[in-house]
């Protein structure tokens, strides 16, 4: 039985296998081909925290493969409000389903769930912790749009301190031999342990405070949201957010083949005029969640993680 908890648990070869399988499922994800490889199987999606894309794309993925979905989003109508432990919830749910997708506000929740589950757990985000399926769909999008997953100049922009997703992405991209630039406001820089990891693997490009410094050599610009609540002074937030706003003028200074990704939801960090530019791939990225999650579900439920 294979759980999907952290992208660090997967070798580069295993990740490529997932991406290859996802590629074969794009037509099914679009509804242009029919599959029933998970017919009769049940997926439990239990979301203790709000989610739009992650929950809907997991549910779509399971439905497109012929399986059924049960679950809840928000804990109001569940035993959790009565004080049930996560361990007990998982024991119960794993008896009802063939795999469990879990989102939880506490870091390490998915790891705990694996200790009490008889079926595979897929981590859909645990607090500020891991979100491995997001990293895999980011990698899928890069490969699909740029034709390869190695030897690229990647610039990660925005709040690099608090979002663990962007930490996992940086480490995974380094694993494939890409050079990583880090662009963030002061105080929201990438944590030291991730920078050390990039330096050790020889994949650390440049750290700076302005996207303009790296845009000319960037193959992929990964933009993340700068959260207002990180700034005690709203004026300071507006100033910083303005400096990190990706607009057509900035995009035009990058190479023509450059792509722009964003895990969404975006607020102001990419101006809507960029949406119609060929570099904007973030909505394609959101769609790619479906084939990638289809691939993972088919592999963990079908027991096909035999690499």
């Amino acid at each position: 039985m294979r759980h999907v908890i952290s992208v660090q648990d997967f070798s580069a070869e295993e990740i490529v296998n997932v991406l290859d399988r996802a590629e074969t499922m794009v037509d099914i994800a679009k509804g242009e081909a029919i599959s029933d490889i998970l017919k009769g199987k049940v997926l439990a999606c239990i979301f203790f925290e709000p989610s739009t894309r992650t929950r809907l794309s997991f549910e779509t993925a399971m439905n497109r493969l012929g399986g059924g979905v049960v679950g809840f989003a928000g804990t109001e109508a569940t035993s959790v409000v009565k004080g049930e432990t996560l361990a007990d919830t998982i024991r119960m749910v794993s008896g009802y389903a063939d795999a469990v997708v879990l989102r939880h506000p506490r870091e390490g929740a998915a790891r705990l769930a694996t200790e009490f589950s008889d079926v595979p757990i897929l981590n859909a985000g645990d607090g500020a912790g891991q979100h491995p399926t997001q990293t895999m769909l980011d990698l899928f999008t890069i490969r699909a749009e740029l034709g390869r997953l190695e030897g690229l100049n990647i610039s990660l922009v925005g709040d690099l301190r608090y979002g663990r997703t962007v930490h996992s992405l940086a480490i995974a991209l380094a694993k494939f031999g890409n050079t990583i630039n880090l662009v963030s406001p002061e105080g929201l820089e990438m944590p030291g342990e991730v920078i050390s990891h990039l330096e050790e693997t020889g994949r650390f490009g440049k750290a700076c405070h302005s996207p303009e410094e790296v845009i000319a050599d960037t193959d992929m610009l990964y933009v993340t949201r700068i959260q207002k609540e990180r700034f005690p002074d709203p004026v300071e937030y507006e100033k910083v957010a303005g400096m990190y706003r990706v607009d057509p003028e900035l995009v035009s200074r990058g190479p023509e083949h450059m792509i722009i990704l964003h895990p969404l939801p975006r607020v102001n960090e990419i101006s809507p005029e960029v949406d119609s530019m060929p570099q904007a791939k973030y909505f394609q990225q959101a769609f790619n969640a479906v084939p990638v999650r289809m691939a993972l579900l088919s592999m963990v439920i079908g027991g096909q993680f035999d690499v």
Partner: protein, 152 residues
Amino acid sequence: MSEKYMKVQRIEHGTVIDHILPGKAFDVLRVLGISNDRSMSILINSHSRKGGTKDILKIEDVELSDEEASRLALVSPHATINIIVQGEVVKKFNAEAPELVRGVLSCSNPNCISNQNEPIQSEFRLSKDADHGYVCSYCERDIVDLARRFRS
């Protein structure tokens, strides 16, 4: 003018912990649960013959057990423990940091699932980094201020 020295005396019975990481002597006392009503000598940042500095503890009438040595190793690995009986060293060993620590510590991340009311034991792995720290097996964060994370 005569120079005056105040020497740290040998102990007749007890434990001498040598080669403690500089500045960690009080953390060692904390994790061993040794209170300040005992007779002991504490040397901070003492010059080491091997170069650099170290802390030394001489604690009278206490013989450190292997279990206590493991606790000590969590905050200062590679310290040397000498058990003294009647002025002689009867046992000498090093405190080696265990690879895995279960149940003894609590995670310093307040949002870690291991700090909630769940039926699990906390678990920490020895970090591969050179800092001899520990990483929570659940939230994967480094434990901060380890000497204060012992569960009472």
